[in-house]
């Protein structure tokens, strides 16, 4: 069991009090039942396909992860070292559950899996990510994605 209370107090306090934008709206998009949904992963783990440009510092843009990426091609370039990487080393689904999504699609629990997935680097100021996130929404729509799962790290 690991909870915020298990972290060093200073780190726990910093994480808990991290400043978040004060959003004026509460958007909430509805849609069909899961068997009709097309699902994409938008991670904030600083994921990058091997050989492509890793996140440097707090880059605010995102990296593209095609659905045919193999487990040995995905790396974490997140700037923070204060999280476990050994789980991801053993099994990428701990951070990037593409195999699980493919299984859910094969058994009909979800409709389909997106052609492309994405990763931001979560230590970046969200305000700087905003234009990239809005541009990404257009790409997701082009791929007919109507459900996004957002895992942190």
């Amino acid at each position: 069991m690991t909870r915020l209370t298990d972290l060093p107090p200073a780190q726990a306090k910093r994480l808990a009090e991290l400043e978040c934008p004060d959003f004026a709206t509460r958007p909430r998009v509805t849609g069909p039942a899961l068997p009709q949904r097309r699902v994409a992963i938008v991670s904030s783990a600083g994921l990058v396909v091997r050989g492509e440009d890793p996140f440097r510092g707090r880059d605010a843009d995102y990296r593209v992860i095609p659905a045919n990426t193999r487990p040995d091609e995905l790396l974490i370039s997140h700037i923070s070292i204060n999280f476990d990487r050994t789980g991801f080393q053993e099994d990428w689904n701990v951070v990037f559950p593409l195999d699980r999504l493919n299984e859910l699609a094969a058994e009909g629990t979800i409709g389909s899996v997106a052609r492309t997935h994405y990763s931001f680097m979560g230590a970046t100021d969200p305000v700087l990510m905003e234009p990239h996130a809005r541009e990404l929404a257009g790409r997701l729509k082009q791929d007919a994605v109507d459900a996004v799962i957002l895992p942190p790290v």
Binding site: L4, P8, A10, V29, I81, D84, G87, F88, A147, L150
Partner: protein
Amino acid sequence: MSALGHYLEEEGIATAAISLIRPQTENTKPPRALWVPFELGRPFGPPSDPTFQKRVILAALRLLERKTGPVIIVDFPDDDPRATADPAWRPPFIPAAVATGPADSLAARLEAESVLLRDAHQRWVAQHHRTTVGLSGLPIGECARYVADWLRGRAPPSPREGFSAPLILRFAVDDVKAYWLEAAAVGAAKPSSRQLGDWFWNETAAGAAIYALRAALQESEDERLRLIVSNFIVPAARVRAG
């Protein structure tokens, strides 16, 4: 990352977030979030446990079908079964003359240790069909050499165009950690992250070398280098007082 969810929803795409830090999610108020009681770095819980992982991802996706809102934060009920230590795990054998010794031999011992772990790491790759080593773009021997040369006071130039030397140092340290931890986790035992971390930081030349690098360079005149070695090579939970 709940803020991303907010932007995507404003653009018309439904999202379900995983939350590892509940107070952050309570502040950001995303439309739907599943809080999970797992350690940072494991949003879907235990490695090599597809059944458990599927329960987590489905619990998050099912939030998309809820009619209530605008903000739903649901708690996942179960802890990560892989968070407990495995008493059967044994770290790889490293002769004491390499793992421990005088500070002035640390750079050479780090390089020697990378060679000693080669077999274990090859077995890891055969077992899991992958490695997460590769951020620096250097083979592991060169990675160890690059870190060791910083420790020798040589301030080696960046070997990679477009990447500063301090950035390559950070990536090389990440690669060293990944190589050592993968080599240490090979086999049937299921060590917890804490077991692996205790071994790396307390019982290896590499761990000692990274501590020494931090101590040696955190007064550097190069601001970027100072920032990197102070904050991005030794985890906050492993920083030793003094």
